[in-house]
Symmetry: C2
Subunit: 285 residues, 2 copies
Amino acid sequence: MEINESQGLSVGVVGLGLIGGSMAKALQKYTTYQIYGWDIDSQTAQMAVEQGAVDRLVPPQELGSCQVILTAMYPQQTVNFVKENLVYFQKGTILMDLCGVKRYLVDQLTDLCGEAGVTFIGGHPMAGKECWGFADSNPDLFQKASMIVTPDERTPKDALTFMENLFLQIGFGRITRTTAADHDSMIAFTSQLAHIVSSAYIKSPRAQKHAGFSAGSYKDLTRVAKLNPQMWTELFLENQDDLIDEIDEIIVHLDEYREAIANHDGERLYQLLDEGRRIKEELDQ
Amino acid sequence: MEINESQGLSVGVVGLGLIGGSMAKALQKYTTYQIYGWDIDSQTAQMAVEQGAVDRLVPPQELGSCQVILTAMYPQQTVNFVKENLVYFQKGTILMDLCGVKRYLVDQLTDLCGEAGVTFIGGHPMAGKECWGFADSNPDLFQKASMIVTPDERTPKDALTFMENLFLQIGFGRITRTTAADHDSMIAFTSQLAHIVSSAYIKSPRAQKHAGFSAGSYKDLTRVAKLNPQMWTELFLENQDDLIDEIDEIIVHLDEYREAIANHDGERLYQLLDEGRRIKEELDQ
């Protein structure tokens, strides 16, 4: 890698939705780099220029002027995009994908990029909202958040260090280095299961009559039911094994509470609830 | 009922935990009434006096000086308390219980109190936190919250009106009148199930390794796992039928997502997620 910051770095952001848009805005706010952007939706792309999130729009064929390219699209779309446009990227470019699954991307793209002299690294910013699209993007979406990176033995150390420093510079509070497999396994629990449970929760017939009965716990449990169904469908299917594990896990536990309640077994129910309280308190320390 | 505000009303609050303590503080802040309090824990009672949440401590035998008595204890404890001390209450007193289940309380206490000339009304403030005890009580815990009341044909209208106005005066944003049965049915969904799901969620082995992988959705889904196990055990057991309904309901839905993912059926998965999104968006309007 031959990035020399004094030369004036150019960063390309492809896909200007909530994550890509926020990444472009954060890079504008916290670095002096040139930020180029692209989105298949011309209205989104136009909005990004007008709001100054990107210095200019650069079509895929011209991304060769960028030393760093960030992709923030759906998984399949990202793989297609890279296969189609890798030929235009310059040797030494660092390409980092930001979508929510990493095994599929790392498997598909690391060697392919390597053969073209491009360094592919998987990344996943642990930030999001119950909304999507450029209109909700925000330069401070990543403040204090964790940035997950999934390098492996094929990743040049200097490229990894450069990217990690860049993320700290734009506001992330920590870098979490892990493998693509461990990323997908953990994300099945911390993010994917939360979206499934929230979506399932809201389907009770009682939800239709909840006005006046809603407290903080209901609001928390159903917040992320308002999700982007197309994106999450793809993310879930690319993480089938880990996510099924997690759904099975929570159903096993729900059944334990159900059984204790059905048996009117106060001692067992107390034990189950107290165990959950203890785990949560220990994790929060 | 013969409450005349110009006489200087006295309100007694029995049980000075999070809800009782906050109720006493709110009454002090937003009314000119005398607030008397009691708690079986002498340290809690002392703290309530020192912080001015109650004007003075009044043992159960002296609650006859109060025109309104609020109980904020566990269900069984409340029934025992009323049975033991009803003899000391003056005729015309309004007694409202604030715990999280209502059928059991209304069934046990309405006629019993009525025979003693005391008006019993069920109530449930839709506010709470993932903590408990007087130390976390707050005069503004109820700001804009919903106050549920469960009157029935035995409830004098003027007593109900008086209490509803009192709750609006201390900051509640709305009064929700319903039956004790409908209360318990709805609360099984909006509050009890949320606590069960949160407690079950945190039990995945992956929870132990979640540092660096946690985003807002994980935090929301697990917040209320930090619960008071003794109180919730009792509340769940007093609402067995409704709560089992709700646990069964969410498991049925979780199984639908699981099946779609296991079958790699993107169309069905999209449909399930989009339906959840649509329901949530409609309810939020």
